[in-house]
C-alpha cells in the first residue's frame, strides 16, 4: 500500500510530523496533503478495482474502496476522511455502476449500496480516527512526561541560579517552540533577566512592568490573561514554597497568539519544576552566606578580643609606669625610675610591633601591598633584621650560616624583612632565654630554602599547620596577636614559595621557607684588573 503515500517516511506512524512540531504550533487540520491523499487513494482504489472488475462482483469492489477509506482515515483528520468516503462512492458510481461513466443510476438498489457504503465507510473512518487520536494523545503525554523528566534531571545537577535559568529556558523553548525568558528578583525585588533564549528577545518597559506585576501578584500576567494582555509575552510566576522566586516569560511563535488551556496546564508543570529548582538554589545560597557570615563574625570576634588584649596590655603598663613617675610624693630611687622608664619604652615598642602586624595583615589581605620583586641578596636582608632586632637578641645568640655562593634572588625586600622579623620575634618569644637560634640557607634546583631552628619547646604534635593561621597563638604567655606567622605565610605564598614548621627530633622547632631562585639578574661585567685602583 505504501505506494499510495506521497511521502512515505513522513507518513509512517512513528514519525508523524505533527509530533515533532512544537506543542503549541497550530495544528493545520485540513492540510493540503491530506486532501491530496484522499484523491490519490481513491484514484488508486479505482485503478485496482478496474483491473480486478472482470473477476469480481460489484460488492467486492466496494471492499477495495472501504480499504482506501481505512488507509486515509488512519492518516488524515475528519474532513478529508469524509471527503474520501464521498469521493469513493462517487468514483464507484461513476466507473462501476451501470450506466458507466455517469453518475446516473439504473437500478434503485444501488442507492442502498451507496448508503451502506457511506455508513460503513463513515463508521470505519471515525473509529480509525479515534484510535489514531488516542495513540497520538498518549504519545504526546509520554513525550511531555519525558521532557519534564529531562528538565528535572538537568535541573537537579545545577546549583547556580543563572545556570538553572538557562537550562529551564532551553527546555521550555524546545518543548513549546517559543522565546523564553526567566527573570529573578534582585535588590528591592526588581526583576532582572537571569537567562533568555535569544538575544533577539528584548523586553521593553511595558513587558517588564507586566513581568513585575506577575511577580508582585503571584499570578500570571501578559498575553492571554486579563492582567496587561496588551504585551506579546505571557508571564508566569515561579511559585515555590517560600513565595515567588522569579518569573518565566514565554512569547509564542508568530503564527499564533495565545496558548490553549492544555498547553498552559503543561507549561505549568515546567514552571513548577523550575520554581522548585531555583528555590533550592536560593536556599543553598542563603545557607552558604549564613555560614560565611557566621565564620566572619567569629573571626572578627577572635580578632577583636585578641587585638584589644594586645593593645591594652602594653598601654596599661605604660599608663601605670607614667602615673607612678608623675606622682611626686612617691620616693623613687634612680634604679626604680630607670626601670619604669625602660618599661615604658619596651611596652611602647611592643605596641608599635602589634599595630604594625595588624596593619600589615589588613593591607596584605586587602591587596593594598603589592609584591615588588627585585633581585636581592639574602645576606643583606638578614643583616638588616639582625641589626634591627639589636639588643633583643642578647638573650638568644644567633648563628648565621649562609653559603658564600648564594645568588641574588628575586623577592620584595620589605616583605621578606617582615618575614624574618616575625620568625625571629616568634623564636625570641617562645624559646627560653639563653637558647641559641640557627639561621641557615641552601640552594638546590633553583630553589633557595631558608631555615630558622631553635631550641625551644617546639609545637604540640598536630599543630604544625595551625600555627600559620590567623589569631592562633601558643597557650603559653607573652603571645602576640597571633598574626606573625599568618603574615609570613601570606608573604611567602605571594612569592610563590612555601613555609612550614617541623619539630626537631632533638627538641625545638625549625621553620623553613622556600623562594624561587630561577633566572639570572642582569649584572655588570666583571671588572678588569681587580687589583687596579
Amino acid at each position: 500500500m505504501t505506494e499510495f503515500s506521497p511521502e512515505p517516511s513522513d507518513m509512517s506512524l512513528n514519525e508523524d510530523p505533527s509530533l515533532n512540531r512544537p506543542i503549541n504550533a497550530p495544528r493545520r487540520t485540513w492540510r493540503k496533503r491530506e486532501w491530496l491523499l484522499s484523491v490519490v487513494v481513491v484514484s488508486a482504489c479505482t485503478m485496482i478495482a478496474s483491473l480486478l472488475s472482470p473477476y469480481l462482483e460489484l460488492a467486492d469492489l466496494v471492499m477495495i474502496y472501504l480499504l482506501g477509506v481505512v488507509v486515509t482515515a488512519s492518516r488524515s483528520s475528519t474532513w478529508p476522511s469524509l471527503f474520501t468516503t464521498l469521493l469513493s462512492i462517487a468514483a464507484f458510481d461513476f466507473f462501476f455502476v451501470p450506466p458507466y461513466y455517469t453518475f446516473a443510476v439504473n437500478d434503485i438498489g444501488y442507492v442502498v449500496t451507496f448508503a451502506v457504503m457511506f455508513i460503513v465507510s463513515f463508521v470505519i473512518s471515525r473509529l480509525t480516527l479515534r484510535v489514531r487520536q488516542q495513540a497520538d494523545a498518549s504519545r504526546l503525554r509520554e513525550r511531555r512526561t519525558a521532557s519534564l523528566y529531562d528538565l528535572s534531571r538537568d535541573l537537579v545537577r545545577e546549583r547556580d541560579t543563572t545556570r538553572l535559568s538557562e537550562i529551564a529556558v532551553k527546555h521550555i523553548e524546545e518543548v513549546f517552540g517559543s522565546l523564553v525568558v526567566i527573570l529573578v528578583p534582585r535588590e528591592l525585588n526588581r526583576l532582572v533577566i537571569s537567562a533568555k533564549s535569544s538575544a533577539a528577545l528584548v523586553l521593553d518597559e511595558q513587558e517588564l512592568s507586566a513581568a513585575q506585576l506577575a511577580f508582585e501578584q503571584h499570578q500570571s500576567a501578559g498575553l492571554g490573561t486579563d492582567r496587561q494582555p496588551g504585551v506579546k509575552t505571557l508571564y508566569l510566576p515561579l511559585i515555590a514554597s517560600a513565595g515567588t522566586v522569579g518569573i518565566v516569560g514565554i512569547r509564542p511563535g508568530t503564527d499564533t497568539d495565545a496558548f490553549d488551556r492544555e498547553q498552559l496546564h503543561y507549561l505549568e508543570a515546567f514552571v513548577n519544576q523550575t520554581a522548585m529548582a531555583i528555590e533550592r538554589a536560593f536556599l543553598a545560597d542563603e545557607t552558604h552566606h549564613a555560614l560565611l557570615k557566621a565564620e566572619t563574625e567569629s573571626l572578627r570576634n577572635t580578632m577583636l578580643s585578641s587585638i584589644s588584649h594586645d593593645l591594652r596590655t602594653p598601654l596599661t603598663a605604660v599608663t601605670g609606669a607614667v602615673s607612678t613617675l608623675l606622682q611626686n610624693d612617691i620616693a623613687l630611687d634612680t634604679h626604680n625610675r630607670l626601670e619604669l622608664l625602660e618599661t615604658i619604652q619596651e611596652e611602647a615598642q611592643r605596641l608599635n610591633r602589634t599595630i604594625k602586624n595588624i596593619l600589615d595583615m589588613t593591607r596584605l589581605e586587602s591587596g593594598a601591598i603589592k609584591v615588588n620583586k627585585e633581585w636581592q641578596s639574602l645576606e643583606e636582608i638578614v643583616g638588616v633584621v639582625l641589626n634591627r632586632l639589636g639588643d633583643r637578641l642578647n638573650t638568644h645568640p644567633v648563628q648565621v650560616k649562609l653559603p658564600g655562593n648564594l645568588p641574588l634572588i628575586p623577592f620584595d625586600e620589605l616583605l621578606l624583612e617582615q618575614v624574618f622579623m616575625n620568625l625571629f620575634e616568634n623564636a625570641i618569644k617562645y624559646t627560653p632565654e639563653g637558647t641559641p637560634l640557627e639561621l641557615s640557607a641552601s640552594e638546590s634546583l633553583y630553589t633557595v630554602t631558608v631555615q630558622l631552628a631553635d631550641h625551644g619547646p617546639g609545637v604540640p604534635h598536630g599543630e604544625e599547620e595551625r600555627i600559620f593561621e590567623k589569631f592562633v597563638r601558643s597557650r603559653t604567655t607573652g603571645g602576640g596577636v597571633g598574626l606573625g606567622l599568618a603574615i609570613c605565610r601570606t608573604i611567602i605564598n605571594a612569592h610563590g614559595g612555601k613555609i612550614w614548621m617541623e619539630n626537631r627530633p632533638g627538641g625545638g622547632a625549625v621553620f623553613r621557607f622556600t623562594l624561587s631562585a630561577a633566572g639570572l639578574p642582569p649584572l655588570p661585567k666583571v671588572e678588569e684588573g681587580l687589583e687596579d685602583r
Binding site: A348, N352, K356, L359, R363, E374, W375, Q376, S377, E379, E380, I381, V382, G383, V384, L386, N387, V400, L402, G404, L408, E413, L414, E417, P521, P522, L523, P524, E527, G529, L530, E531, D532, R533
Partner: protein, 234 residues
Amino acid sequence: MPKEKELILLIEDEPQMRRFLRITLQTQGYRLVEAANAQEGLLQATTRNPDVVLLDLGLPDLDGLEVTKRLREWTQTPIIVISAREQEQDKVKALDAGADDYLTKPFSAGELLARIRVALRHVARQIAGKQEPVFALHNLRVDLAQRQVFIDNTEVHLTPIEYKLLTVLIRHAGKVITHRQLLREVWGPAHGNEVQYLRVYMTQLRHKLENDPTRPRFLMNEPGIGYRLKYDPD
C-alpha cells in the same frame, strides 16, 4: 654658651609630635621655629633661614614631596623628612627630590639628634669646602689622598668600582643615599635603575670590610630606600 646653637624649623601638624620634638630639641640647646602646615613652613623657611628643616610627610595642606621641591628651588638647607612606615615610596621620592635624610615614626630622640648632627656636619664641611684626607671608622681607615683602604692597619684591595662606591658612601657619611643616587654617582646617570649592581658590590664590599657581613657595623642597607654608611661624628 660659647655660640648660639643652630636654628631648626619643624614643620609638623600633630601637636603632640611638636611637643615631644620641642622638648627634645630645646633640651639639646637648639633654637626652634614651629610650623603647623606646609604654607606656614615655607614662609618660615624664607624669613628665618633655618639651619635644618624637619619636615613631616603627612601634612594636611601640601604633600612633603612638593614642600621639598619648593625648598630646594632656593636653598640647600638640610631637610630631614619624618614619615610613617607606609610611606616608603614618598620617602624615596622626597630623598630623590633633594631631602637629606629621613626618620620613620616612631623614632627615638637619639636617632633624631644623630640625624641632625650628621646633617649639620655636612653643611659645615661644605662651607669649609674640603674633605678630610683620611676617613676613620671602627677598624676601617681610608686614605682618600693615597686611595688606600686599611682594616686593622692591613691594606685591603678594592676594585675600582668598590672603591668608588666606598668613597661615595664616605662623602655622604651618616646620611642615607637612595639606590638611584648611588647608582648615578658610581655608574653614571644611565644606570639609575640597576639596583642589583649595588647589591652585588655592596655584598663584596661588606665581605672585604666588615668582620661579620651578616651583622654589618657600618655598611648598612636601608630596605626599600638605599644605603647608609653608619657614622655619627660625635
